[in-house]
Amino acid sequence: MIKRLLPLFAFLALAVLLAGGVLRNSGKDNSAIPSPLIGKPAPAFSLPVLGDPSRRVGNADLLGQPYLLNVWGSWCPACRDEHPVITDLAASGAVRVIGYDYKDAPEDAQRWLQQFGNPYQLVITDEDGRAALDWGIYGAPESFLVDAQGVVRWKFVGPITPEVVRDQLMPELEKLK
C-alpha cells in the first residue's frame, strides 16, 4: 500500500517545493538588481543643474540632511505614473527630493516638469548617462535614499508606489533619526 502511494508522495513533495518557490517570489520584482552601494558613500559626482547649467552640484553640496535621489526622464512612461507619488512625498516634507534627469534633453525635461509640476527641490542633469554608471543606474525610474553623511541607505528600482513609501521608505527614514 505504502509502496503504491510513493509516487503520489513524491509528487506532493515536488508540488510543495514549487509552490513554496512561487509564493516566495510572487509580488517581488525579480529583475531589480540589488545595489552594491547600500551602506557605502554615494559615488562622487558633479552635475549641472536643470535650468541653470552653469551651476554644478556635487556630493558635498547635498550633505547635512537625508535626500531621495529620484532618477527620471521625460522619455520614461513609468516616471509619469510615479510622479504623483513623488509629488505627495515631497509635499509631505518627509525628505528632500532631488531629481536626477537621466539621458534627457534639458528642454524636454523642463517641458515635462511644466506640464506635470515640479516636485523637486533641485534637478541635476546627466545628459549622456556617464555619471549614472557610477550609481549603478540602468533605467528609470530608480530612487536612492542618501543619509545626511552622504551614505547610500536604500535603493528602489521601478516606480515608487504609496505602498513602497509606507512599507520601505518611511521605515528607512525612521532609522536615520
Partner: protein
C-alpha cells in the same frame, strides 16, 4: 497595472534596436578581446542577454564604458571589478564562489548525488527481492 506598464516599458527599451552607431575598433586583437569580454557580461536591463547581444540603451553605454576602460589599459579582471562594484554580481555570467552562491554552484552536483543514491538504493532493493530466474535458454536473448 503599473507593474505591467513598467515591464512593458522595459521590454520596449530592450526591443528598441535604436540606430546606435557601431563601435570602431583600432585592430582585430582589440575587437576579439572586446567581444570575448562583453559576451561574459550580462546586460543589467535584459537579464537573459549578454552585454554583447543586448540592444538596450544601458547595454550600449556599458559597452562603450568597457571599451574606454580597455583603452585605458585596464585588465579584464579590473573591468569586471568596476562593473561589479556598481551593478553587483548580477553582471557576471560566472559569479564568484561564496556562501550566497553555494546553492548555485553546488546545488546541481548535490541533486545529482542525491539521484545517484536513490538509484543505488532502488537497484539494491530490486536485486534482493527479484527472483533470480535464469533464462531457460541461454541462446535466446529476450
Amino acid at each position: 497595472m503599473k507593474r505591467l506598464l513598467f515591464a512593458l516599458a522595459l521590454l520596449l527599451a530592450c526591443a528598441a534596436a535604436a540606430a546606435m552607431e557601431p563601435i570602431k575598433f583600432n585592430d582585430d586583437a582589440e575587437e576579439a578581446r572586446f567581444r570575448a569580454l562583453s559576451a561574459e557580461l550580462r546586460c543589467v536591463m535584459c537579464q537573459n542577454q549578454s552585454l554583447a547581444d543586448s540592444n538596450a540603451q544601458i547595454a550600449h553605454d556599458l559597452r562603450l564604458q568597457v571599451l574606454t576602460l580597455m583603452r585605458e589599459g585596464k585588465t579584464d579582471r579590473e573591468i569586471k571589478d568596476y562593473l561589479v562594484a556598481r551593478y553587483s554580481d548580477f553582471v557576471l555570467y560566472s559569479p564568484p564562489v561564496r556562501p550566497s552562491t553555494w546553492l548555485l554552484w553546488f546545488g546541481p552536483g548535490v541533486m545529482l548525488l542525491g539521484g545517484a543514491v536513490v538509484v543505488v538504493l532502488v537497484v539494491r532493493k530490486r536485486a534482493g527481492t527479484a527472483p533470480a530466474a535464469p533464462p531457460a535458454d541461454e541462446s535466446q536473448e529476450w
